[in-house]
């Protein structure tokens, strides 16, 4: 079905179920319970899960398949954001033109950057992309202020033209919508102690993530994807088999740039603002972290990595000293103080430390990311070969049919 084999279809269905029922899965604790702060089922966070998922899926098409490590993908996300916000200011608050243009702009931008950067490989490629992204960031902050809004960024204003929408009522705010459905509107389902929130914006983004994920499966399993994996495996040899690697790399670069643009456009659709900080190189680093953490080159890993990092950012960073103290209130005082003192640096404001450590551990011990870890654990419990997991290495065109 859908041009996928049974395994891939299972993966797609699994992701579809997880995203569609995420408001339930992510809110397992009743609102009044002490664990309610671990609930992640609120619209803002769920939107970020899927949007960064799209970003990471796209990045994985470049890095996971070809092995080219770009440190500048946030620039494409930022360009997409600016494109989207301008559509909202000039044309309409409907998100379709905004998102379409953000994909196109990011695609063209990545075509230009990729065309130049891909003339070099290895570390030089990484530094070139880094240089381009930092340049875009600096320009967006300074000279391009008329287009980017500089430090303040861009938001829809009441006096924007918005040709298709017509003038706003006095006091009315411009809200992003899809044919009248506002992105920010939600339906809340209350079941005894539990509250589940179903947000329009989340479902729009989740639907687009599923489409993106499906497209990425198709790319992974296509002859085109095989060529990209061959680039990673032995680019030099590829030339002697009559394949020109550069257009393949460029195609992968542009596709991943378009994914980044889609993510950037969706961010604007959710929060209707765009700023230069989205282009900063640490933002590029973040998507690298997500992809590696989950498992570069695997289908589902980047989504997993994006979800984990965004969950940690939002949930772990909320754990403060008093929360910790309340958790360990059962312990004797000296023990409680000790435990709190040990854990405290890693939570709350220190969550980046946890992230950095986790990332290092993954790179050192699990170069295949969490997916490799899952594979290893799975191998312990079954007789399946470890390379039978959801990974590129284990897939074959023979298995595809």
């Amino acid at each position: 079905m859908l041009g996928l084999n049974a395994r891939d279809l299972q993966i797609l269905l699994l992701v579809a179920i997880l995203t569609m029922f995420a408001p339930f899965f992510l809110n397992p604790f009743p609102v009044d319970s002490s664990l309610a702060q671990f609930n992640a089922g609120y619209p803002d966070l769920m939107q970020r899960f899927v949007i960064f998922g799209i970003f990471a899926i796209g990045f994985n098409i470049l890095f996971g398949l070809t092995g080219y490590l770009s440190f500048g993908h946030a620039a494409f996300l930022g360009a997409g954001s600016y494109a989207a916000i301008w559509m909202m200011k000039l044309l309409t608050m409907n998100i379709i033109p905004a998102i379409t243009l953000s994909i196109i702009v990011a695609g063209l931008f990545s075509l230009a950057v990729g065309y130049i950067s891909l003339r070099r490989s290895g570390i030089y490629f990484s530094i070139l992309t880094l240089a381009f992204a930092q340049m875009s960031y600096s320009l967006a902050y300074s000279v391009l202020t008329p287009i980017t809004g500089g430090e303040t960024g861009l938001q829809p204003k009441s006096n924007d033209p918005r040709i298709l929408d017509g003038a706003l009522e006095p006091g009315e705010q411009a809200r992003a919508s899809l044919f009248g459905m506002e992105m920010s509107s939600s339906y809340e389902l209350v079941v005894s102690g539990w509250v589940f929130t179903f947000n329009v914006g989340y479902y729009v983004a989740a639907f687009l993530m599923l489409v993106s994920f499906y497209a990425s499966i198709r790319i992974f399993r296509s002859p085109f994807g095989l060529m990209l994996r061959a680039v990673k495996s032995n680019q030099n040899r590829l030339g002697y088999t009559g394949v020109s690697a550069r257009p393949y790399n460029l195609a992968a670069f542009v596709i991943s740039g378009m994914y980044a643009g889609l993510a950037g456009g969706l961010m604007v659709a959710m929060d209707t603002q765009a700023g230069a900080e989205r282009m900063f190189w640490t933002a590029s680093g973040e998507v690298v972290l997500m992809t590696i953490l989950g498992g570069a080159g695997t289908l589902i890993g980047p989504v997993l990595g994006a979800g984990m990092i965004k969950y940690m950012e939002n949930i772990i960073s909320k754990i403060n000293q008093s929360v910790l103290e309340s958790w360990f209130a059962w312990a004797p005082d000296f023990l409680q103080d000790f435990i709190v003192a040990v854990i405290y640096p890693f939570v709350g404001k220190g969550w980046h430390l946890t992230l950095g450590l986790m990332f290092m551990l993954v790179v050192i011990f699990l170069p295949g990311g969490l997916m490799q870890g899952i594979g290893k654990i799975g191998a312990l419990f079954s007789r399946k070969k470890p390379n039978d997991r959801d990974s590129v290495a284990g897939s074959t065109p023979a298995a595809a049919e």
């Binding site: 092995g67 490590l69 130049i116 003339r119 070099r120 490989s121 290895g122 570390i123 030089y124 990484s126 530094i127 070139l128 880094l130 240089a131 381009f132 930092q134 340049m135 600096s138 320009l139 902050y141 300074s142 000279v143 391009l144 190189w281 640490t282 680093g285 690298v288 972290l289 590696i292 640096p345 404001k349 220190g350 980046h352 430390l353 992230l355 950095g356 450590l357 990332f359 290092m360 790179v363 050192i364 170069p367």
Partner: protein
């Protein structure tokens, strides 16, 4: 004319920092073949060595000063640094005043130790892994290091002044025969430049004139052959890593009066230092130093009002533009050897 002199001078201090960081990056890359994204963090840790020492030197205990009274008329409580008890007030004040330069003495062993620990504990396991993995693990390490610093020192910049003698500026222009007040230059920046020149000179003579340095240079050219001669090159390379860390560290120490250190200063410098390394030529020590100064000066010229009128914003991007042009037209950089990472 004086404008040109001023811009060259302005470029020197930033150029010195670029050159010192790039020198360390190149030493590590040239010897160990490792791309170290945590090098900026070492610079930052060096800066915090200075912060720590100036804090430690002023650790005080409270004594009651009978000669003064507070606003309630009670005898005033005065904080007295322990240092006064040891050296007396006059010497103590001098030491506190000179905390930043004194920190170099502390920073060298500390940074050496951190460098060696880093190499033995982590980097050594990544020699055979792809460059992408090296970038990633050192990137992770950089995050960890800066978060640790943030945990202990907070997120705000901590002003750390230079010794009082160097606090002011002097009129450099009059030395060159210009009218007064045209070329004003802070003393400390001049000190920083002189310091950088000494460190760079020291590293080069160490490599040039000692047997140890000779072996290391030979190892940079051809690691395997040197290994075949029965020389334990790995041990020497470990020490070079420590040295590179120390160079980055003391560069950070001395930079604190110019820019109050904060936990992400390393990352800010790192990106530009990589640009410097690439422009200078991957693996070329001379190239790294030359490019460091050139780019520092170029950056300060690009910030001139007259230039910005013609090309607005050029100061923000000039280094990246130079790096991109160099990478595309002359991949081995200004002074790189052919064949080093030239794919």
């Amino acid at each position: 004319m004086e404008a040109i002199v001023l811009q060259v001078l302005n470029g020197l201090d930033k150029g010195s920092a670029y050159a010192l960081i790039a020198l360390g990056l190149t030493l590590i890359f040239g010897t160990l073949g490792v791309v170290n994204f945590a090098h900026g963090a070492l610079f930052m840790i060096g800066a915090f060595c200075a912060v720590t020492l100036s804090k430690l030197l002023t650790v005080s205990h409270i004594v009651i000063d009978e000669t003064k009274t507070d606003f309630l008329g009670n005898p005033a409580k005065v904080e007295v640094p322990y240092l006064y008890d040891v050296f007396g007030q006059a010497t103590g004040d001098v030491i506190i005043d000179w905390a930043v330069p004194i920190s170099i003495l502390v920073a060298i062993p500390v940074m050496m130790a951190i460098g060696v620990a880093m190499e033995r504990g982590l980097i050594k396991h990544f020699y055979k892994r792809p460059h992408a993995d090296q970038i990633l693990v050192t990137f992770g390490l950089a995050i960890v290091l800066q978060e640790i610093i943030k945990y202990f020192y907070g997120a705000n910049p901590i002003p750390t002044p230079a010794p009082e003698v160097f606090a002011g500026s002097f009129d450099f222009g009059t030395l060159l025969g210009f009218d007064p007040n045209l070329v004003i230059y802070p003393y400390w920046r001049l000190v920083y430049f002189a310091f950088a020149a000494v460190v760079i000179g020291g590293v080069f003579s160490f490599l040039q004139f000692t047997t140890f340095g000779m072996v290391v240079r030979a190892g940079m050219q051809d690691r395997e052959t040197v290994g075949l001669l029965g020389i334990n090159i790995d041990k020497r390379f470990t020490i070079m890593f420590g040295l590179a860390a120390a160079v980055a560290g003391i560069a950070g120490v001395m930079y604190t009066p110019i820019n109050s250190p904060n936990y992400h200063m390393g990352m800010d410098f790192l990106v530009l230092s990589f640009v410097v390394v690439v422009v200078g030529g991957m693996g070329s020590l001379g190239g790294a130093v030359l490019a460091g100064f050139l780019l520092g000066i170029l950056e300060s010229f690009a910030s001139m009002g007259q230039v910005l009128e013609v090309l607005p914003g050029i100061n923000q991007v000039i280094l990246y533009v130079v790096a991109i042009v160099i990478l595309l037209t002359r991949p081995r950089g200004l002074m790189g050897r052919p064949g080093v990472m030239e794919d």
